[in-house]
């Protein structure tokens, strides 16, 4: 197992995409938060502060508005590409055979990949959010406290979301063994497919009365993980609580992980 971790640790650090994706995450994450914090500062300095406007604002700024529950985390979606590449490069460039002759335990390689990518994503997501919060403090310290207990809670949940998303992307890539297909799917699913499903539920008479099940759509549920604005009615109420969202989204990730492990053991390299 130690050998597999050593292998994956060198692998992830010696590929250029790791660094440009990490840099892109920091730039985009901190950049969006900076713009958002500056805009709020401008608004507050000209029109004054309404106490009702600052609820959840700190969490919103550090998560690039993902804490609004309306959009997925852009930072986590960029980092998920690291997960796609972790398996995608193995199959696209024929590296898998070299990997499995260097490491003759498929289980060790599989576990090491998920752990190392998960740790990398967690650290980068955390650092991005802390830096984003630090920039927000510069602009907004006169109006609100950015790093509240709620903000730290959301930071923790967003890190968990990022890791689950990266693992889900990895499992999907491992299952399909196609980097291009996985890349396309991981963006189309939340941005298009789930909205199409919602539209069907609104347009089709038989489904119109059952729109409450839409809260179980995986990426809709994932948005609830960091949502600080909605008021959930129980774990699996409508909307789902952060725990409910974690269970639904994490459950999908777990199913794909189990399938990925099982097929990786059985398939030819």
């Amino acid at each position: 197992m130690r050998a597999a971790f050593a292998y994956e640790w060198v692998r992830i650090r010696t590929i250029r995409s790791t660094w440009w994706l990490t840099g892109l995450t920091l730039v985009v994450g901190v950049g969006i938060s900076t713009l958002f914090a500056w805009a709020i500062h401008h608004d507050f300095s000209t029109t004054g502060v309404d106490p009702g406007e600052i609820d959840g604002l700190g969490a919103g700024v550090v998560t690039q508005l993902a804490a609004s529950g309306q959009i997925p985390s852009v930072v986590c979606f960029i980092l998920a590409i690291l997960g796609i590449f972790a398996w995608g490069h193995e199959y696209r460039h024929g590296m898998i055979r070299a990997s499995l002759t260097a490491l003759n335990s498929r289980s060790a390689l599989w576990v090491a990949k998920y752990v190392v990518v998960g740790l990398w994503v967690a650290v980068v997501a955390f650092v991005t959010m802390v830096l984003s919060g630090a920039v927000a403090v510069l602009f907004l310290h006169s109006y609100l406290s950015v790093f509240t207990a709620e903000t730290w809670s959301v930071v923790g949940r967003q890190v968990a979301y990022g890791v689950l998303l990266a693992w889900l992307a990895m499992a999907f890539t491992s299952l399909t063994r196609s980097q291009a297909f996985a890349l396309t799917s991981i963006f189309l699913w939340p941005l298009l497919i789930e909205h199409l499903v919602e539209l069907f539920f609104l347009l089709v008479p038989g489904l119109r009365d059952n729109t409450e099940v839409l809260r179980f759509l995986p990426f809709q549920a994932a948005n609830r993980m960091v949502d600080v604005l909605s008021e959930p009615d129980g774990t699996f109420g409508d909307p789902l609580s952060p725990l409910g969202g974690t269970i639904v989204f994490g459950g999908l990730a777990l199913v794909l992980l189990v399938a990925s492990y099982s097929l990786f053991q059985k398939r030819d390299a």
Binding site: Y7, T14, R97, A98, A102
Partner: protein, 321 residues
């Protein structure tokens, strides 16, 4: 040093057998060539040996399966792909990654890069490497753990003549150190120079295994080449003595079943003038073509695919004889 023992290897793709009940041994201290027509199952066999493909049978390296080896690259080095690396990971980083998985010191990375002649491009991205440079990097990876066994699939692909000679000498020297070298190649002339033993397969089944000389001699008897202005007369005399006589270019006879001495004596007795009398040994290529005739996976049609070696040798068709 390790003996490779492959036993009952088998693999099917979509119900079509690719390798069937294949067993053979590779002895230490020798280069064993792995031959077979395209699609015969050579690459599949090598992947089965290393547990990369799931299939029947097993392979042991000094009694232990590949999956049981701690730090496998220290025991078995393998080159299975033409370019088994990420195109933008530097050559040295690629080897460092493999070394990390096998507790191999970093200094060994530079050693193997020097050994394969890639020191100058150690910090270069392999996306710009030629096929030959890619093969050298793959070979560096295989040698990284200083293994007692090497399994190499077409390592000479893409190498220039100097590179092929270099590889031959390298593999011969590694075998002389007592290592087991198992190498597939389509370059039969190269294999004839490099290999001590052969494993020959066709359609996934074993055709022959043993020393190269034994394989060559078993397939094609030597011939006596006679050049004479009285070819018709001599052909009749030789045929009457029970020899197999084949006419080549005008005035040239290929004679099998009689020694050069016997042919010379008969010509003298019948006052036939000779311009040439020589013995031509069968080649590995001729033996290979003869023994694998009819077991090619992919056969040409519509064009006479006959191959005539040096213009006078036996022919082997593109279709089974």
């Amino acid at each position: 040093m390790a003996t490779i023992a492959a036993r009952g290897l088998g693999k099917s793709f979509g119900g079509k057998p690719a390798v069937t009940d294949l067993s053979f041994d590779v002895q230490p201290g020798s280069v064993t060539g792995f031959l077979g027509p395209n699609g015969a199952g050579k690459s599949t066999t090598m992947r089965l040996m290393l547990g990369l493909d799931n299939g029947a049978g097993h392979t042991t390296f000094d009694g232990r399966r590949f999956a049981e080896l701690a730090h496998p690259m220290r025991h078995v080095g393998a080159l299975l792909e033409a370019k088994p690396f990420h195109p933008t990971r530097k050559a040295r980083s690629h080897l460092r990654m493999l070394a990390a998985a096998n507790a191999i010191p970093r200094s060994r990375v530079d050693e193997v890069l020097t050994l394969v002649g890639l020191t100058e491009v150690a910090k270069a991205k392999p996306k710009g490497f030629s096929m030959g440079m890619g093969q050298r990097l793959g070979l560096a990876a295989a040698l990284l753990g200083d293994p007692h066994t090497l399994i190499l699939d077409e390592p000479a692909n893409g190498l220039d003549p100097q590179g092929i000679q270099w590889m031959r000498l390298l593999l011969r020297s590694l075998a002389a150190e007592g290592r087991s070298i198992f190498v597939s190649s389509h370059l039969l002339s190269e294999m004839a120079l490099m290999a001590d033993h052969l494993v020959v397969i066709g359609k996934g089944r074993l055709i022959a295994t043993g020393p190269v000389a034994e394989f060559v001699n078993s397939a094609q008897p030597s011939a006596v080449v006679v050049r004479t202005p009285d070819a018709a007369v001599l052909a009749g005399v030789l045929a009457a003595e029970g020899a197999q006589v084949e006419a080549g270019e005008p005035g040239v006879l290929m004679v099998r079943g009689l020694t050069a001495d016997a042919v010379g004596d008969l010509a003298f007795e019948h006052r036939v003038r000779l311009h040439e009398l020589s013995t031509r040994a069968a080649t590995l290529e001729e033996a290979f073509l003869e023994r694998t005739a009819g077991v090619e996976e992919f056969q040409a049609s519509g064009v006479a695919a006959a191959v005539v070696s040096d213009g006078s040798g036996p022919t082997a068709g593109g279709s089974p004889s």
